[in-house]
């Protein structure tokens, strides 16, 4: 009796162990680790997926001595009617199974975005191998060409692109947008999503990838591009600036000075009443004096610099606002969203024609500008 019971328990345990397992055992050397994915639309309306696969043997450093010789990555493209179809078609060209969990970047090609991204974004959310915190990029031109640029500082260019984004978002020339953030905005239809812009550039005779500006994707299609200044204007409103330099005239004189932004915050406050709402954008910025041509540091000159800093920020915001209203007709700032939160009923009335109203609402920008620190030096160096 006792042994029977024991046997039953053991069978049950065996069933649990043997049937419950994921069953997807994959040895590391059977996997092609994808680090970058680019999606393009071909001339004949097919989806082209290009992946950057790492060749681990070429990466390794140290005792084994194999590394350094060949290309560290392989770039393969495949076509299909859908993204998944294209990915499955990789089996015809690759000996290993593509493994997307370590994908670092997703890049959409310009043609694809013009045609609409609706048809490609689903798999990135649905399939468990894709991570939604991967940063999304909008390529000028073909996305595949971006992946083809060899890495300069990193062996793997996809990793380099990702790191580059982290440095460029600091001064605010572009912003990081993860797939998750993109889809959330895309799905909400209140804020128009923007995606950092990436392109190929020649620097000192070498091809590099450059990230600056943003692409505006309205209604699933590319509505237009923001340049660096417009991007920063957008980020001042959203309070997403983390640093950067604002060149000002030192103390109102002709001398140049650099203000190094240390902290920035922003708030959008919708004021509702009769008629259209009014949006007050309150931006607070704190800077240090980073460098300056010789000038006299006084209360007045400091005040003047603060004022100029505020003016420059206001100007940048105004530029972005103008572009969004007049050219793109897209609320990329999220004014609608703040209204939705503050006055849901009024938003219900306005939401269907918000793109129209957005062009007419009043936006008041106020900047609280501070200058905190003057560095290790308190008097100008003047040549005799």
């Amino acid at each position: 009796m006792f042994y029977l019971k024991k046997a039953v328990v053991m069978v049950l345990v065996a069933v649990i162990v043997l049937t419950g397992g994921c069953g997807n055992k994959r040895e590391l050397n059977e996997l092609a680790i994808v680090l970058g994915t680019a999606v393009d639309l071909t001339q004949d309306d097919q989806i082209e997926v290009t992946v950057q696969i790492v060749k681990p043997g070429e990466i390794s450093s140290g005792a084994q001595g194999g590394g350094g010789g060949g290309e560290p990555v392989v770039i393969i493209s495949s076509r299909g009617r859908t993204v998944f179809d294209a990915i499955r078609n990789f089996t015809t060209v690759s000996s290993k199974k593509l493994f997307f969990s370590h994908n670092q970047v997703v890049i959409f090609g310009e043609d694809l975005m013009k045609g609409g991204v609706q048809q490609v974004i689903d798999i990135f959310e649905r399939d468990h191998e894709f991570r939604t915190e991967v940063p999304l990029f909008a390529a000028r031109g073909r996305a595949a060409e971006i992946l083809e640029v060899p890495g300069s500082e990193e062996k793997i260019s996809a990793i380099e692109i990702k790191k580059e984004l982290d440095t460029v978002r600091h001064p605010g020339w572009a912003d990081k947008v993860t797939f998750h953030e993109f889809v959330r905005k895309y799905d909400g239809r209140i804020v128009v999503p923007v995606v950092p812009q990436i392109r190929r550039v020649e620097v000192n005779g070498r091809t590099h990838t450059k990230i600056s500006g943003m692409a505006v994707i309205k209604g699933g299609r590319l509505a237009g591009w923001l340049d660096e200044t417009e991007t920063r204007g957008l980020l001042w409103v959203q309070g997403r600036i983390r640093g950067g330099i604002i060149p000002v005239k030192a103390g109102g004189s002709g001398a140049e000075a650099s203000m190094e932004v240390k902290k920035a915050k922003a708030k959008i406050i919708p004021e509702t009443g009769a008629g259209l709402p009014v949006f007050r954008v309150q931006t607070e910025v704190e800077s240090n004096l980073g460098e300056a041509e010789p000038f006299q540091l006084t209360e007045q000159t400091i005040e003047a610099m603060k004022r100029e800093q505020a003016d420059i920020i206001k100007k940048e915001v105004a530029t972005a606002l103008k572009k969004a209203r007049e050219e793109l007709k897209a609320d990329i700032f999220g004014f609608g969203e703040t209204l939705h939160r503050a006055e849901p009923r009024q938003w219900e009335e306005l939401k269907t024609d918000w793109d129209e109203y957005f062009q007419d609402v009043e936006v008041r920008i106020s900047v609280k500008s501070e200058l905190r620190n003057f560095g290790d030096k308190n008097r100008p160096t003047i040549p005799r």
């Binding site: 397992g21 055992k25 994959r26 590391l28 680790i33 790492v54 681990p56 084994q64």
Partner: protein, 528 residues
């Protein structure tokens, strides 16, 4: 308490074996004739060369006598100086002719024998068992009794520093093979009348003395009782080491985990006794057993208490970490590289992939193989003769470690994993056996079902651990059941002046071990 009673009941219910130890010549009385006795002795002991029977006449008189001892076991100088001399060349030779037989024997015992420990014995078997253990028996013609004089003097190892459980700070003495030395070492630390040594003889042929050492009033009587009962149950030929005893009396003989502790250090044994435990000192073994034994004891060392608090608390945590690593690491490595590649940071995955490039075996085989190789090296290191020690390290480090990687047979990460599990197991040597088997289990579980398998096996092991008991004490206490008061000597080691009580469930009959408020500081009232 309920569980403890249940445990005793369970043991009582098991089939009782006959406790009687059958021996040749048991209960044979001595004759009052010298020749007959000699004959009987020769019959039992045979013609063994080391059995010495020395005939003589008492006090230069007429009374025949002989002494019996075993050469090598008894101290010859002692016999010559204090037995032979006092009986043969006595000043009071005039006394002897007037008495004979038992009267003479009493006279010798009371007036002439200059030895400390003497007893009168009537039973041949009893005489022989004492003589075999190094005592000297005196037979006088006409008496049906013998005098047994304690004259043990066999060669033995001195008190040395133990090879295991070495410490930087703390006493350096270790137990030896001689029971008496060991009890002396204990008595020297615990100079209290409460210290009891109870002896039970076990083993038909070895007649090994097993000594229960405990503190009366601190130790729970029920534990001593239970221990005595379990010892008396043992009916076997030989007890060659305390390990034999352990396997006959442990609570969970089928478990991976030891429910009886061992130590080679008198200070550790004294510490355990002071907490309310019982130490079992086994003749011929330098390893002293302690019961009850809890899981956490493997993570404590005597140095935890002799060194300063912060560092030692850190080391405690480190030991738990080491146990985790040594049990789980190979399994985790396999699970991560063959099932859950998405959980590894990208750059680490790439390095691991590059190391696996060109390795001809699946990760499971690779890890298992290296694990087996390490066990080979470890076992060889223990068994080989000392002079060839160099060879093992060369083979281990160069051939297997370096050459295997260079030849592309194994990836470097697997070597690192194996090396880490190897080095961490030696941090907690008392868990070596359990951890090695568990590691194998977790490696296989990970190979079959990844993290899922590891988790399942973890559950099984945990369920088993919390179900274990050692002499009625839950094995995982003070963690399960949770004893908040004892947590200050678990993952951390709180300062000594906060450890006012003995461990909750072991020392609960006499919980307070020191006065409160012992924290040193200015303005403290002096205690007298």
């Amino acid at each position: 308490m309920k569980g403890f009673r249940g445990l005793i009941n369970r043991i009582l219910k098991t089939k009782k074996t006959k406790p009687a130890v059958t021996q040749d010549g048991k209960g044979q009385p001595l004759a009052d004739n010298l020749a007959q006795n000699e004959q009987a002795i020769k019959e039992v002991l045979g013609d063994s060369e080391d059995v010495i029977i020395r005939r003589f006449k008492v006090g230069m008189g007429e009374a025949n006598a002989f002494i019996l001892f075993i050469e090598g076991m008894a101290d010859k100088t002692f016999i010559a100086d204090y037995i032979m001399k006092s009986l043969m060349f006595t000043e009071s030779q005039a006394v002897f002719p007037h008495s004979a037989g038992t009267g003479l024997l009493e006279l010798i015992k009371d007036c002439f024998l200059a030895a400390g420990e003497v007893k009168e014995v009537k039973d041949l078997d009893e005489v022989l068992s004492e003589v075999i253990f190094g005592d000297t028996a005196i037979f006088v013609d006409g008496s049906d009794r013998a005098l047994v004089v304690s004259s043990k003097g066999f060669p033995s190892r001195g008190v040395e520093e133990p090879e295991t459980e070495t410490v930087v700070r703390g006493p350096r003495e270790g137990f030896t093979e001689v029971l008496r030395t060991n009890t002396t070492l204990m008595r020297r630390i615990l100079k209290t009348p409460g210290l009891r040594f109870e002896v039970v003889t076990v083993g038909r042929k070895t007649r090994t003395k097993v000594c229960l050492a405990y503190l009366k009033g601190v130790c729970r009587e029920s534990i001593v009782c239970e221990l005595r009962k379990r010892l008396e149950r043992i009916d076997t030929d030989a007890i060659l080491d305390s390990g034999y005893i352990e396997q006959f009396i442990e609570d969970a003989p089928n478990s991976l985990f030891a429910t009886i502790g061992t130590t080679e250090r008198p200070d550790v044994a004294a510490g355990k006794i002071l907490e309310g435990r019982v130490a079992l000192i086994v003749e011929g073994s330098p390893m002293v057993l302690t019961v009850p034994y809890l899981f956490i004891e493997g993570f404590q060392t005597s140095e935890d208490y002799t060194s300063r608090v912060y560092f030692m608390s850190l080391v405690r945590v480190l030991r738990f970490l080491a146990f985790f690593i040594t049990v789980y690491l190979p399994g985790l490595y396999i699970a991560l590289t063959t099932y859950h590649q998405e959980m590894v940071p990208t750059s680490l995955l790439i390095s691991m992939a590059s190391a696996r490039e060109g390795v001809p075996f699946p990760a499971l085989v690779e890890v298992l193989g290296m694990g087996v190789v390490f066990e080979f090296i470890r076992e060889a290191g223990i068994r080989m003769p000392r002079p060839v020690g160099q060879a093992v390290s060369i083979v281990g480090a160069l051939v297997i470690g370096e050459a295997a990687v260079l030849a592309g047979l194994v990836g470097a990460p697997v070597i690192i994993v194996t090396a880490l599990t190897a080095i961490t197991i030696f941090i907690i040597p008392s868990k070596l056996d359990a951890a090695t088997v568990l590691r194998l289990g977790f490696t296989l579980a990970a190979g079959v079902a990844g993290f899922y398998g590891i988790l399942l096996l973890t559950l099984v092991v945990f369920i088993h651990l919390v179900a274990l008991r050692s002499f009625g004490i839950p094995y995982m206490s003070p963690l399960a059941p949770l004893l908040l008061h004892d947590l200050k000597d678990l993952f951390i080691r709180a300062p000594l002046w906060t450890l006012d009580t003995r461990p909750g469930n072991i020392g609960r009959d006499n919980p307070v071990r020191q006065a409160g408020g012992l924290k040193p500081g200015p303005g403290q009232k002096g205690r007298r």
